[in-house]
């Protein structure tokens, strides 16, 4: 489908949001203290397209923190896949890139419809970056990889919004608001807004993905990992907040009747101590990444090198969430990578 | 009259904390009649020394898991007093609602789980599950509601999170407050049913009277639970008031050998604190609905029957629910919104008092110029009641002996008396000392 461009007056925005709310469960950025989160919207006033970055990435709308996979009872098990129609509104391009990665990873080899079903039922509307978060570096990471998975993209212009429609799902949005065709000037303006923001990140990588991947991989035995991770708490924050992390744990739990229950997956993180620990019997265990420096290294290896062949670029989109939310401030990929590149 | 009785109730059940009753009657003479408190002492005083003011209430809340909200509120008030913090009117109202929630929560626990089994002739609430399912389920439902009511504002009820010096750390949404109000209104059928249940066993409340002094927080504005001054009412109905800062002169703590908890007294040999004390002091300010209930029960101040404490608790449940509805209307009507914390203006010494389910509770702290705690003191209602319990027991035993009751019946009568006070013994053995480090 060809890209089509539309324009929405500033004053028509609220009714557009209401239209979307009627059509599906609407998730959009809202304020939480001085930060932002994606949340279900119950009033257009809550929507904050001027957000800088959210605490958790929007992947949670498709791949929730806790998700039942199978329910069980006396008669055996049953699939727990129950997607609902959702609109995920106001996603920055770097988070779209991350969702593209998850799309690929949950589809490759073995299709996981526990993810894909909700993905198919979600309409993704990207939005331009109006404010830049303090640790962002999306301008320089994985430049060759462009966002693909969204259905439409909305750009704030001085007097309203330009909406770019990319798919049939995106086209449906037009019926929820009073859109008019965009003028060439508006289209150009929107493109310029999105291009201009690209070199405004406070942090920058000074090398390309291939160079970085090779050098980081070669630094596997470097002492840096231990130095960097000296103050690491193994708290997993850098995993949990990352839009491209998708590891999970699976646990069973009974209901009160002690007969029925569910098998549930929950986000997990490779920084957590037991992530690679196995039981060997008679109380013996083996932890394949016992030292926190090993776990710390594994995450960065995964972001910068391990998945590159599959993804066509690094498994990091430069959102800066890990950088900003790691309390001892040691998780910033730019700092780690730059010091390896210099070293 | 029975000649020889030996009762030793070791670790009295269905009270919070450990208490023993020891009665020894030889040849008709009472040789020993003791209310003992052997709870393990826990040294809260040594714990708060050198801790930051923001942590102190979090520590002293752990004195008691049943009146954790009360301890937190009293502690925070004392700290605010020491730090020159005056909280906003909205905070006062919200905290009062929290206080009502705790009193109702605890009263319901006491009435349904601790007292009702005696009145239904069961050893505990569990045998009542099959025989009085409706009552037990209602009890659990109301208990859970009271918990949710307190948690909505305080974060949780056991060691509340949100009550901190300067105000509240987080707020419920306006919609949540409106919903709380609705649920309080919708509680009516359960309240009515509770009253009916109590009425059905009201004749089983023993009749026993002993004149004593009653102490409670008091205010001209309302039936004081969160704020007020100290007041006592004497058997002749005379009332006297003291500022909270003078709490030591009205409580006069002393140590007795049979107890890890300290005892107190004021004008008389002992005084009583708790629902009955509040009722006797502040009856006029009860919500009309609560008063109506008291009238139905032919329950009037001054009442000298300590067993009626549980009935006073029931009256307070109704009051707490109705007064909270009123307060919610006021808060919502005055443009409810989350407020910033009020910052400290000085560091010094301060006192705070609230009415917890079992009576008046005092906290006091001192802080150095870095905001670190230099010492503290805390007088707990159950301690204030120990002396009164002892004197009640001393008065009751001869009556029971004279009535030719057997040991089992005497034991039950004594246990029921102690339980009527709803003693919270875990908190009574906190052992905070009065002296301040300079």
């Amino acid at each position: 489908m060809n890209t089509k461009s539309y324009f929405l007056e500033e004053t028509a925005f609220d009714s557009f949001v209401e239209g979307m709310m009627k059509a599906a469960a609407l998730y959009a950025p809202v304020a939480k203290k001085h930060c932002f989160v994606f949340a279900p919207i119950s009033s257009p006033k809550e929507v904050r397209l001027d957000y800088d970055v959210t605490i958790l990435p929007p992947k949670k709308v498709i791949f929730p923190v806790h998700q039942d996979l199978v329910s069980f009872g006396q008669g055996g098990g049953a699939s727990a896949i129950r997607p609902e129609p959702r609109i995920l509104f106001g996603v920055h391009f770097y988070d779209i890139k991350a969702i593209d990665m998850l799309d690929l990873l949950f589809r490759e080899n073995n299709e996981d419809w526990n993810y894909l079903a909700q993905r198919e039922n979600t309409t993704i509307v990207g939005s331009n970056i109006q404010r830049i978060s303090k640790r962002a570096f999306w301008g320089t990471v994985g430049k060759g990889v462009k966002p693909r998975g969204h259905d439409a993209f909305i750009t704030k212009l001085p007097k309203g919004y330009a909406l770019e429609v990319l798919t049939a799902k995106g086209e449906k949005l037009l019926s929820y608001g009073k859109f008019e065709s965009a003028t060439d000037a508006q289209v150009t303006e929107a493109r310029k807004v999105n291009e201009d923001v690209m070199d405004k990140c406070p942090e920058k990588l000074s090398h390309g993905s291939h160079e970085i991947a090779a050098k980081v991989r070669a630094a596997f035995k470097s002492k840096l990992w231990e130095e960097f991770s000296r103050t690491c708490f193994s708290c997993g924050t850098c995993n949990i907040v990352c839009p491209t992390c998708y590891c999970f744990d699976v646990q069973d739990c009974w209901n009160l009747d002690q007969i029925s229950g569910q098998r549930t997956r929950t986000w997990d993180g490779c920084l957590l101590e037991d992530f690679a620990k196995v039981s060997l019997g008679a109380g013996a265990t083996e932890n394949f990444r016992d030292a926190r420096s090993q776990r710390y290294r594994h995450r960065l290896m995964r972001k910068a090198t391990y998945l590159n062949d599959k993804l066509g670029g690094p498994a990091c989109v430069g959102c800066g969430r890990c950088s900003a939310q790691c309390v001892p401030d040691i998780a910033d990929p730019v700092r780690i990578i730059e010091s390896i590149m210099e070293g | 009259m029975r000649q020889n009785v030996s009762i030793n109730v070791h670790h009295l059940t269905r009270v919070e904390g450990h208490g023993n009753i020891v009665v020894d009657v030889k040849n008709g003479k009472i040789e020993k009649m003791q209310w003992q408190v052997p709870e393990a002492p826990r040294f809260f005083e040594a714990m708060i020394r050198g801790r930051h003011y923001s942590e102190v209430a979090r520590i002293t809340s752990r004195i008691c898991g049943i009146c954790a909200i009360g301890h937190t509120l009293a502690s925070v008030k004392a700290t605010e007093n020491a730090l020159g913090i005056v909280v906003t009117p909205q905070t006062v109202k919200l905290r009062t609602i929290i206080k009502h929630a705790e009193n109702c929560d605890s009263h319901l626990l006491h009435i349904y789980f601790l007292v009702a089994p005696d009145l239904f002739g069961a050893p505990s609430v569990f045998p009542l599950v099959p025989t009085h399912t409706e009552v037990v389920v209602r009890a659990l439902r109301m208990k859970r509601f009271a918990h949710e009511w307190g948690s909505l504002l305080a974060g949780r009820t056991t060691h509340p999170t949100r009550v901190i010096p300067g105000g509240l750390s987080e707020y419920p949404t306006e919609a949540e407050l409106k919903n709380l109000k609705k649920r309080l209104i919708d509680l009516q059928p359960d309240l009515d049913a509770t009253v009916k249940t109590v009425l059905s066993v009201a004749d089983k409340v023993p009749s026993f009277e002993r004149q004593t002094e009653y102490m409670a927080l008091s205010s001209d504005k309302e039936y004081a639970v969160y704020d007020g001054v100290i007041q006592t009412v004497m058997p002749d109905g005379k009332k006297q008031r003291w500022p909270v800062a003078d709490y030591k002169s009205c409580t006069n703590e002393y140590v007795v050998p049979q107890s890890t908890a300290k005892y107190t007294k004021n004008k008389m040999a002992s005084y009583m604190a708790g629902a009955l004390a509040r009722f006797n002091n502040n009856y006029d300010l009860l919500h009309p609905e609560a008063k109506k209930l008291a009238e139905t029960l032919k329950f009037k101040p001054l009442c000298f029957n300590p067993y009626m404490n549980s009935v006073a608790q029931l009256v307070e449940v109704v009051h707490g629910v109705k007064d909270s509805i009123r307060l919610l209307d006021e808060v919502l009507g005055a443009g409810y919104k989350p407020e910033d914390l009020v910052k400290p203006k000085k560091f010094g010494r301060g006192q705070g008092a609230v009415e917890v389910p079992r009576g008046i509770l005092f906290h006091e702290y001192g802080y150095d110029d870095k905001g670190m705690c230099t010492g503290g003191n805390c007088i707990i209602p159950t301690n204030q009641n120990h002396g009164n319990i002892q004197l009640d027991l001393e008065a009751l035993v001869p009556k029971l002996l004279a009535a030719e009751k057997d040991e089992k019946a005497i034991e039950l009568g004594l246990e029921m008396l102690v339980r009527a006070y709803d003693p919270c013994i875990s908190c009574s053995t906190h052992y905070l000392k009065v002296e301040f480090k300079r």
Binding site: K221, V250, K277 | -
Partner: protein
């Protein structure tokens, strides 16, 4: 109490849905290991390669990866051996004949049979490493003519930990396999070799062209490989069967990753040459 829950049908395939298998035979092999023969309740044959695995589950307890322990030449039923080490394995080993286990699979890549056929074969199995390799061993014995020399080293800590006692008795006598066994800590009755598994290399001559399969506890690998290096066995001809924590078995959950390889997808059987450069593969 009877509980009926309503299961709504969904149109999406669910790769996490296990299928029921009936336990047609169950036997406690050692104090810790239990041997099960399973049959799919839907009657479907289980078609797998030696070295592949299953996700085996008991509802309420969870799911664990378990290797096939029987030869794929037998298709109507299949064997697994489970060592009781924790929650799920504890629940599985508590089951008896007639009860139901739930399985997903076969999963992963097994032994490259086309590369083993026509070759000398040595299997080095430590402890429970005999379970997944038993599948291969039985396969070779079933089709003995397709392979040349076949040797088997088996080591355990103590004689009580020996598994598949009937198999061992057969193999000791069999002319089809040169079987060598050892224990670290002997008891009074033990008459055989004493020492770690590498001491068995002194017992026989291994041709440098042999294809070698190694499966055992994590620390065993590097010692055995050092031994093979000494003999001159090409690292291209060494296959290792690895164990890692696993939660999905389908290459998603991330737990089994060794550098950039997923044990559940790319393994659990790897050609040593392909992973020797991976720092995380061996310690």
């Amino acid at each position: 109490m009877s509980v009926s829950i309503r299961f709504e049908e969904t149109t999406y395939p669910n790769i996490f849905m296990p299928r029921p298998a009936e336990i047609v035979h169950a036997r406690q092999d050692t104090a810790m290991e239990k041997h099960f023969t399973l049959k799919m309740k839907d009657g479907e044959p289980m078609i797998f390669d030696p070295g592949q695995m299953l996700e085996v589950s008991v509802f309420g307890f969870g799911e664990i990866p378990i290797g096939f322990a029987s030869s794929p030449t037998r298709t109507q039923s299949f064997d697994i051996v489970v060592r009781k080490v924790g929650r799920v394995s504890g629940a599985v080993t508590a089951l008896e004949r007639g009860q139901t286990l739930y399985v997903r699979g076969p999963l992963g890549h097994g032994f490259p049979m086309d590369k083993l056929r026509g070759q000398d074969i040595l299997v080095v199995a430590g402890g429970i490493g005999l379970c997944p390799t038993r599948s291969l061993i039985l396969y070779i014995l079933d089709r003995r003519s397709e392979f040349k020399n076949f040797s088997l080293f088996f080591g355990v800590k103590s004689p009580q930990e020996q598994l598949f006692l009937e198999d061992l008795a057969l193999w000791r006598k069999s002319a089809d396999v040169k079987f060598y066994e050892t224990v670290d800590r002997p008891d009074d009755k033990w008459k055989g070799n004493v020492g770690v598994i590498t001491t068995l290399f002194k017992k026989t001559q291994i041709d440098p062209g042999t294809r070698v399969i190694i499966c055992g506890p994590p620390i065993m690998y590097k010692f055995v490989i050092a031994e093979l290096d000494g003999i001159g066995v090409s690292r291209n001809n060494i296959y290792v069967d690895l164990e890692r924590r696993m939660k999905c078995g389908i290459g998603k959950c991330g737990h089994c990753q060794i550098n950039d390889e997923y044990v559940c997808l790319d393994g659990p059987v790897f050609c040593f040459k392909d992973i020797e450069h991976l720092e995380e593969a061996f310690r």
